[in-house]
């Protein structure tokens, strides 16, 4: 398989105006991925599938990721002159990154027996802007998995042929795989609670009576 840089350059040439970033993975798996802009995602996907040397004809897995709002602190050593003496001072800058949702596609080529190629798309935000183009017209196998992402993460896939909930019932309004999902309070019977479960189970405990007669017992 070609390197990610080569695939990125080819795709950017083929789909005019497409902007592709490489999301590096420095972990042991070394599986870096391509971040594709939403406007050209379908064109890029079509290129990846149809190009004779790439031929990614099999979409094995589609999944979602929820990224909450976060602040990243960066500490940089800056040389400052204080009272005529040059010193190294730590300067901390905070960067606020707004949250977004992500869809991750794992692509393989049956023809050339290579892969996986991992491509990602990001939504504008986690509320009404949680929209992405559907890649079901390119890979049919993405249909059910995009429905699952819609169900559990709440990403709306535009031009998806049949975007309904798949695991939860239709009347359900939440998206349970989002990190800020809070499940309904049915913690009335927890025999071995701990951590978060203990906190929620405590609200159902009957309070211990303050006076139970034991305080009147004295040693003879």
């Amino acid at each position: 398989m070609e390197t990610l840089e080569q695939i990125k350059n080819r795709a950017e040439l083929a789909a005019r105006g497409a902007k592709i970033d490489i999301v590096a993975n420095t972990g042991p798996s070394q599986q870096s991925s391509l971040l594709i802009d939403n406007d050209h995602a379908v064109a890029v996907a079509q290129f990846l599938r149809d190009h004779p040397a790439l031929g990614f004809d099999f979409c094995s897995n589609v999944t979602g990721v929820d990224w909450l709002d976060r602040t990243v602190k960066k500490t940089v050593k800056v040389k400052q002159t204080v009272d005529g003496v040059e010193k190294e001072v730590d300067q901390t800058t905070e960067e606020k990154i707004p949250g977004y949702l992500e869809a991750v596609y794992h692509l393989y080529s049956m023809k050339h027996k290579h892969g996986p190629l991992i491509i990602r798309m990001r939504t504008a935000n986690r509320a009404d802007g949680a929209r992405l183009p559907s890649l079901t017209p390119i890979w049919r196998s993405a249909e059910l998995q995009e429905r699952e992402i819609f169900d559990l993460y709440g990403i709306h896939f535009e031009s998806h042929p049949d975007l309904r909930r798949i695991l939860m019932w239709d009347e359900f309004v939440d998206h349970p795989m989002r990190k800020d999902y809070r499940d309904p309070d049915d913690y009335e019977w927890e025999p071995t609670p701990h951590d978060d479960v203990l906190e929620r189970a405590k609200q159902h405990y009957t309070p211990r009576p303050t006076l139970d007669g034991a305080e009147n017992i004295t040693a003879p």
Binding site: E171, P184, E188, W189, T206, R208
Partner: protein
């Protein structure tokens, strides 16, 4: 068999006279011909199938006639994870079974939600909506455990009274044999538990 003396009874039996009561005969017949409802929800169902197959052979206890229709079944074996999406269908099946009917809650999931208890989509025990007669813990319980539960249920049937104030529940007209089917709500099933059926122990802790 409250009236006749046990010693007299065995003495009569030695002379070739067998004395029994209507209740004993009736329960003996019922407990040795329990027809389970044929349905499975998860991996516990595989163990239930193994119990019905030749090696463990639930036929030895008279329970081999798995019925595909709730109208013909006496016993519901809730074998596996009950998701919140499936729970209304389970209650509906239970309601369609004729009295007398019994429920075995098989495995950790059917008892309490098991390993999925803190998940978002699994019901925390089928006893929130329907009364359960025998619980079998295990993940999944072995066929021996299901047979044990089956024998426990037979013991329970054998001890049920047909008359008097403490007669079996299914003979009391005021005892409900159907329970409301929960509806799909926006965040959870509505209601999340049937308060007439589900009585969790009150916890008193500090």
């Amino acid at each position: 068999m409250g009236e006749i003396d046990e010693g007299l009874r065995s003495e009569l039996q030695r002379q070739g006279v067998w004395v029994t009561s209507m209740q004993e005969l009736y329960n003996w017949g019922r407990k040795n011909s329990i027809w389970p409802l044929q349905f499975g929800l998860a991996c516990c169902a595989i163990e239930m199938i193994a119990t019905a197959a030749s090696r463990y052979d639930i036929a030895r206890f008279g329970g081999e006639v798995f019925r595909p229709s709730p109208r013909q079944a006496d016993l519901m074996i809730v074998a596996g994870t009950v998701t919140k999406k499936m729970a209304p269908q389970i209650v509906r099946l239970y309601n369609q079974m004729p009295d007398p009917k019994y429920v075995i809650s098989m495995g950790a999931c059917a008892i309490s939600g098991g390993p999925f208890k803190q998940g978002y989509n699994v019901l925390k025990g089928i006893d929130r909506y329907i009364p359960v007669d025998v619980y079998i813990p295990g993940c999944p319980p072995r066929p021996e455990a299901l047979l044990h539960a089956f024998m426990e249920l037979q013991r329970k049937i054998d001890s049920q009274k047909l008359s008097g104030a403490d007669k079996a529940g299914f003979l009391k007209p005021e005892q409900p044999s159907e329970f409301p089917v929960p509806a799909f709500g926006e965040h959870d099933l509505q209601p999340p538990a049937n308060p007439d059926v589900y009585h969790p122990p009150k916890l008193e802790r500090v």
